[in-house]
Amino acid sequence: MRWMKSIGAATIMLVLMSLTLSTFASSHKLVLTGSSTIAPLAIELGRRFESLHPGVRVDVQTGGSSRGINDTRKGVADIGMVSGVLKSAEQDLQAFAIALDGVGIIVHASNPVTTLTNRQIVGIFTGRITNWQEVGGHDARITLVNKAEGRSTLESFLAYFQLKNSEIKSHIVIGDNQQGIKIVSGNPHAIGYVSIGAAAYDAQRGVPIKLLTMDGVAATVANVRNGTYPLSRPLNLVTRLPPTGLVKQFIDFARSKQTHDLVEAQYFVPVSVD
């Protein structure tokens, strides 16, 4: 029985220790969590922000837009990263757009198809069109790459085409953009949809993928910029309360002109407020 008591004491000590430790966490620390589309940009933003404000540390954690919302609400994160417009249930949060990004349809570079209509896209994703021949390509079975449940890119895509995820007959389910790009680049008959920024970045580095023209509009950064590309979405930083102090400084910094080169380097479209 004696050891039972000691166990209790040890557990309590452990808890106390961790509590005191957590209060030591530096007050000059910004924690950002959320969308994996925004994370690479946020890391670069953080780095430049740190060099301008010595003694500040900006930590970026990926995990998806829902996590950004979740963590911000719970106060685990100072700033959440959310791609896409906030839903009606998420209006309790303050959103600040830092960039625009599109969701583009990608295929392998060797695929002769360069354009698809919305009807064809819906047909392919619901399994009515299963061969590239039906949309003007080679005679080959279409490999459909879909996003995992809960990803904001999936939600943008479904909302735009008015589909339900249960209707999509996918062959591969992926998490992040890069996984989709990898699979499409390794499979001449695959089709998927990813962040235009990520796709353009890779295509420019020689990865054999190309973005399809959707309903007559090319999926380019320029078309996202001038608003003609239909499937675009803002990349947001969100906070629970109106930002103050360091959080406000960071958000203002992220939306200022001095970060446009970072945004463009990730193939996103900068949004400017000043």
Binding site: V15, G175, D176, N177, Q178, Q179, I181
Partner: protein, 291 residues
């Protein structure tokens, strides 16, 4: 003689033996072929980037450029925490189970059984547990500390079983002599048993380190993704295995550094394993001499 009496039956045996030999050899060729292919791929993909600078530079541009110094630092810190937490507990358990209580006592059986189950628990379950317990319940958040403690839970069974094996291998006559000399159990342990079992314990320790350094799933939700140089144990730190995963899945153009990081990780594990084998060898020699 056999040549004279080769009958039909014998022929069929020979044929069977030959067939099986061919099968086994082709299996070996197959296995080594595939494995050499993997090694060749990794070395070809990774050696171009691998340099001293790669090891000492911090990752830049989401890991596409720069090196892995901060990743290595986080990996070492997570390992350190895991070992600091796991070693006392597991070694105490091993000593208790072998030297102080009967293996068949209810407590002994219960401890042993739960460790047996723990050894089979998939690492992602440890990840879930660590996330729920250390990160959220204890409020450690995504930090090196919670990652290390999660790993510690995972390492317990392997550390206990290797330490136990080391102690059990010490000849019974040693214990009897110690008792005859009137030594206390604790004194016997420190003066007689541990020196003999030490190489086995060291080997187990290194095995544990190897296991921990390769772990990904348990750390995904506990120590997090931040690829910065950690400044305190409460900072999130990305470990090497997770870095490879992230580079290959989430970073456009991340293949080359992923290959190089994989190569670093394998070399690291190789060194650890070689040292572990050396200790095992020492231990076996010691055991033989003892007998």
């Amino acid at each position: 003689m056999s040549k004279l009496f080769v009958n039909k039956d014998k022929m069929s045996y020979l044929l069977r033996d030959l067939t099986i030999q061919v099968l086994i050899y082709s299996a070996i060729v197959c296995v080594s072929g595939v494995f050499l292919w993997i090694l060749f791929d990794l070395i070809r993909g990774g050696s171009a980037l691998l340099s001293w600078q790669f090891l000492t530079d911090v990752p830049r541009d989401a890991g596409r450029a720069g090196g892995i110094s901060s990743i290595l630092a986080s990996t070492l810190l997570v390992l350190l925490i895991a070992l600091l937490a796991a070693l006392p507990i597991s070694w105490a358990t091993a000593i208790l189970l072998t030297e102080f209580i009967s293996a068949e006592s209810p407590f002994g059986r219960w401890v042993r059984y739960s460790l047996q189950v723990l050894a089979c628990v998939p690492s992602i379950i440890f990840g879930l547990f660590g996330y729920a317990f250390f990160s959220l319940y204890l409020g450690l958040g995504f930090s090196i500390l919670s990652g290390g403690l999660t790993l510690a839970c995972m390492l317990l069974p392997i550390l206990v079983s290797t330490a136990e094996a080391g102690l059990r291998a010490v000849p019974e006559s040693y214990r009897l002599s110690a008792v005859a000399l009137g030594m206390s159990r604790a004194a016997t342990l420190f003066h007689v048993l541990l020196p003999v079992a030490a190489p086995a314990w060291a080997a187990g320790l290194l095995l544990g380190i190897g296991r921990a350094a390769a772990e990904t799933a348990a750390l995904m939700f506990t120590s997090g993704y931040v690829d910065r140089m950690p400044e305190s144990l409460l900072d999130s730190g990305r470990v090497l295995a997770l870095h490879i995963f992230d580079l290959s899945m989430n970073v456009p153009g991340g293949d080359a550094p992923a290959f190089a990081s994989a190569l670093v990780l394998i070399l690291l594990l190789l060194v650890i394993n070689l040292v572990a084998m050396r200790f095992t060898y020492l231990w076996q020699r010691k055991k033989l001499n003892a007998e």
